[in-house]
Symmetry: C2
Subunit: 219 residues, 2 copies
DNA sequence: AGGAGTTTGTGAACGCGAGAACAAAACGAG
DNA sequence: CTCGTTTTGTTCTCGCGTTCACAAACTCCT
């Protein structure tokens, strides 16, 4: 999109690698909590559930943070990956749609521990506006613009029914949100420059069902 | 794995295509509900958010279900995809771990409408055993073997804390479950022949954060 | 019946990602 | 200091997935 500056960290990390870095980060955290100070690529690969050659190649995109003949310093590598992903900084997040899933997301401890701070819970249904979920009170959806503006929110989470998803996305984009995590079972259209990631619970089950059916057929 | 019989539907559909079929299925359902009887690959591709050439190639793995110069019959194609995925049949599912996320999953309407029937909710915490969620009562985790055996359950969902995930997976595999959907933020090891799919809410956010950080740097 | 206009299905080219294999570098023993 | 051992970082090859482009096939109009 933008012309990349020549001197600075201009390496563009492959998408497939970016998707695995958080897995490595979690594996390193687990190792660190277990008291491990140093680990080989083989160890870390096992903890992350990947091939060790792939792990080393992935890490090589970030730089040379290992020591040949020794391995990787767990804490050092952990910091480097966290910095590369961006989870060393604070990311304010708004969640729209406080149904069952919205509740679960608001209460999910894995967000806060990785730098994501839920600054607002929004819902269009006035019946929910007196609720307090995970220490944050639910507010009207129309407060979106004000909250996003005041707190410089860049990331929005959609946990509404499918029918509302596109409207919510449009409003989010209009007030400056540039990354959207969409849990609604609907395809949403956004302009260039806005990233959307989609998580669909039933799609994952359907993929399993396909393979399950194949197993049954070949038996 | 198994030697494939020569005459019968021996086509093996690429993994990437399998992952998109549920998306097409949902797009077709939306079109059908809107009254559309026939659609071109261009229409369907737009509704599904993919390239039309990719859509046509994906569908070609299933067979020739379109008519040149005309397009696809929505209901017919919908049935063919549903049959190929396996969602025309009934899939009993057990959910283990009835915390916030387990509640959300148990109440998720998108499962039942696609042939997935939640036959049991299990939790190790006795304090939850008097609860009834989405019309199903929560039972002790130790009932797993009996329920899976009685109802021929092939698919299990793990929504426990990370620390419990591997144990739950082991027990599931031991009593005959061959497909696992894992929401716990942990890598689980299973023997060959068992499929695992992983959904990690915080990983998706971290991927967004990475790209968000890049946008900020290049500005 | 024939031709113009559409739209599917697929062959071919291309680019990315996975994995094997190896060279470079660090450490330790003697 | 030198050699053997260990482990990283990287090169190379292969296969999969995506996309383009076009021939085949169907409809409709005259």
């Amino acid at each position: 999109m933008t012309a990349r500056s020549s001197s600075e960290t201009a390496r563009d990390i492959p998408e497939a690698t970016v998707a695995r870095l958080p897995v490595y980060l979690r594996a390193l955290t687990t190792l660190a909590e277990g008291g491990t100070r140093t680990c080989s690529s083989e160890d870390l690969a096992a903890a992350a559930g990947v091939n060790s050659a792939k792990l080393r190649k992935d890490l090589s995109y970030l730089g040379s943070y290992g020591t040949r003949g020794v391995g990787y310093d767990v804490d050092y590598l952990r910091y480097q990956i966290a910095r590369e992903i961006g989870v060393t900084q604070d990311w304010p997040v708004v969640i729209v749609g406080i149904g069952n899933l919205g509740h679960a997301l608001a209460n999910y401890s894995g967000f806060r521990s990785r730098g994501f701070r839920v600054v607002a819970l929004l819902d269009a249904d006035p019946a929910r506006h007196d609720e307090v979920v995970a220490g944050v009170d639910v507010r009207p959806f129309d407060d979106l613009e004000q909250i996003v503006g005041d707190q410089s929110v860049a990331i929005g989470v959609i946990a509404t029914p499918a029918i509302a998803a596109q409207d919510v996305a449009d409003r989010m984009v209009a007030c400056g949100i540039t990354s959207i995590l969409n849990f609604a079972p609907a395809v949403i259209a956004v302009p260039d420059g806005v990233d959307v990631r989609k998580v669909d619970l039933s799609i994952e089950l359907q993929i399993l069902a396909y393979h399950e059916q194949r197993k049954a057929q070949s038996a």
